[in-house]
């Protein structure tokens, strides 16, 4: 670690992992409710568990992005962070806001939470993923602005690299598009149209910029490959992400009352959305193959490659599976969407944050890489989580096909709940996969505390250090 202020990332990463555990526990609860409908009812209704599950995901990924930025920006910029005190202060504000929001979901009925937080003054609650009370949303805006100021000033007053500029563009986009969370018109078609300006333009737009820059940074560090090569890849990957993803938003406009031309535009542009992920995979494997050093942190390399592959499968392949309008006509709003959502979020965003953590955490703890045992356990957790998530995705896909067939395709379609009963076995298999994922996560957390011998570094190229 070159700069002391980089270590601020540590608290952000610890919080991220803590909230990640909470997210998975509530995922397991929901999986149980799918097979045993009255599980924890009426104490934790499904919608409450779901808000906790999805909101924890978003909050911990934001912690992960911020931590990653605080770690890499000083090093890339060649200077200490502009205002370390501000980063620490914002950490506590964000953590408090996040925890209070989750407790609010769990401790009082949602309508009561809306009343306590005076939702009537500026109603923004009750939309998928954006369920946070208005006051919490304002808190998010303040934290993100302070974060952007801090990161922005560090970048602009230091050395500017392609990685930091792309990261900054992604983070500014994240902040700007979040503002649509405050626009909730009574007209449902308009409401839905602009809701996607947060959701789609985050996960299929600016977050891809953040993801690609984090991945590029770690790959430079662990492979020692020439920065020029990496930067060229980075530009072309994010260029394709924006070229496909911006108009690709249209694949959400097929059935919400928007004009018919979106069926063509949405289908064509979202069909090319897998391209940046294909390129990311080629890029990752290419630079690892042409590496100029053997970094002792082998598991970080594994996470980096895993991110590229799983993002390609989850976002690219599973996204394409149901993105063409004639297919989406049947699959829209079925478990197929859940299948895609799970693997895409895991592959692209969860894994890129875990890649950053895997690379930087040992350095912040004073070593270049975790010890042999810790790396073995982390590798085991990588495979357990990745494989179980793949099974979750496959089972949800099967569930989606069953749903499409009985509820949408046949001549005399069956009611929703009748079809759900036919899927019970598959939902059980999904829940079991989810529990394996939880096991993988427990091993992951344990790996940070495992003791063992230091990894012996093999020097392949003596020109590079750290």
């Amino acid at each position: 670690m070159k700069y002391e202020s980089q270590s601020i990332a540590k608290m952000y990463f610890i919080a991220a992992i803590g909230l990640f555990i909470g997210q998975i526990l509530f995922g397991a609860i929901m999986g149980m409710q799918y097979v045993s409908g009255d599980f924890l009812f009426p104490e934790i209704p499904f919608n409450v568990a779901r808000m906790v599950h999805t909101n924890l995901l978003i909050v911990w990924l934001l912690f992960g992005f911020m931590g990653s930025a605080y770690y890499l920006v000083p090093e890339e910029s060649g200077r200490e962070l502009y205002a370390p005190w501000l980063a620490k202060l914002m950490f506590w504000i964000f953590l408090a806001a996040g925890v209070l929001t989750i407790l609010g979901y769990l401790l009082v009925p949602y309508a009561t939470l809306a009343e306590i937080t005076m939702n009537d003054l500026l109603p923004t609650m009750g939309r998928e993923f954006l369920e946070q009370p208005t006051i919490a949303k304002i808190g998010i805006v303040i934290v993100v602005l302070a974060f952007l100021y801090n990161i922005g000033m560090t970048i602009l007053t230091g050395r500017k690299t392609v990685i930091t500029l792309v990261l900054l563009t992604g983070l500014v986009g994240l902040a700007v598009f979040f503002l649509f969370a405050f626009y909730v018109p009574d007209n449902l078609v308009l409401d839905k149209y602009f809701w996607w300006f947060v959701v789609h333009l985050w996960v299929e737009g600016v977050w891809e910029l953040i993801m690609a820059s984090l991945l590029a940074y770690v790959l430079i560090k662990v492979t020692g490959v020439d920065r020029e090569v990496v930067e060229k890849w980075l530009y072309i990957i994010i260029a394709m992400a924006l070229i496909s993803g911006l108009i690709g938003t249209g694949h959400h406009f097929f059935w919400i009352g928007a004009p018919d031309y979106w069926q063509w535009l949405g289908s064509v542009f979202s069909a090319i959305e897998p391209i940046p992920f294909v390129m990311m995979t080629l890029f990752a494997f290419n630079v690892v193959k042409n590496r100029r050093r053997e970094h002792p942190n082998k598991v970080a390399v594994l996470w980096a490659l895993g991110t590229a592959v799983m993002a390609l499968l989850g976002a690219g392949v599973w996204g394409f599976l149901h993105t063409l309008a004639p297919v989406n006509y049947y699959t829209h709003g079925t478990q197929l969407t859940a299948a895609h959502g799970h693997m895409a979020f895991f592959g692209a965003y969860v894994m890129v944050v875990l890649t950053m953590i895997s690379y930087s955490m040992p350095i912040m703890r004073g070593k270049k890489a975790a010890n042999v045992n810790a790396q073995k356990l982390e590798t085991l957790s990588f495979w357990l989580m990745t494989i179980s998530m793949s099974f979750i995705t496959v089972f949800l896909t099967i569930a989606g096909f069953i749903q499409v067939y009985w509820q949408r395709y046949i001549d005399n379609p069956l009611p929703f709940m009748v079809v759900q009963d036919k899927i019970e076995t598959v939902y059980w298999l999904r829940e079991i996969s989810g529990l394996v994922f939880l096991l993988g996560l427990i091993i992951y957390v344990y790996s940070f505390f495992a003791k063992g011998e230091d990894v012996v570094e093999v020097v392949k190229d003596n020109a590079v250090t750290s």
Partner: protein, 145 residues
């Protein structure tokens, strides 16, 4: 990548492509916002419908149900529930009212929200309004949602 394709070219594709398609998206959005006046059933957005939408939101209905295919997939699609329930707001109100407080053993059940008569009417009117939105190919595909 070969040397003929330089970093400068990649950068230009990024900036050029990004800005161009952002502008296209803004243009298409302007067009969409004008055109949807014929499909979005805005003439039926009464005060009651607005109140119903607010109730839909502050009870997080979308955390279990989907509406025009978006939301959760734990409970039935509601964009066409008005048609499915025989075009009867009374049937919708009756269903919401009848949910047992402690659920149904072993089954999924909608919580009992203890809505007032006025709130029930607003929710039912909101769902009736949503049913009237003209979607492409008349989505959902059939009455079961």
């Amino acid at each position: 990548m070969r040397e003929t394709f330089t970093k400068g070219m990649a950068r230009n594709i990024y900036y050029g492509g990004g800005v161009f398609f952002l502008l296209v998206l803004i243009g298409l959005t302007a067009d969409t916002v004008t055109r949807i006046s014929t499909t979005d059933n805005r003439e039926n957005i009464t005060e009651q419908v607005s109140a119903g939408k607010r109730l839909w939101e502050i009870n997080d209905c979308v955390g279990c149900h989907s509406l025009l295919g978006e939301g959760a997939y734990f409970a039935p699609e509601l964009a066409n529930v008005y048609t499915r329930f025989g075009k009867s707001t009374e049937a919708i109100k009756g269903f919401i009212k009848s949910r047992p407080k402690d659920g149904i053993p072993g089954r999924r059940s909608m919580p009992q929200f203890n809505f007032t008569e006025e709130e029930l009417e607003a929710l039912a009117q909101f769902l009736k309004y949503v049913d009237g939105i003209k979607t492409a190919r008349n989505w959902p595909p059939n009455i079961q949602g």
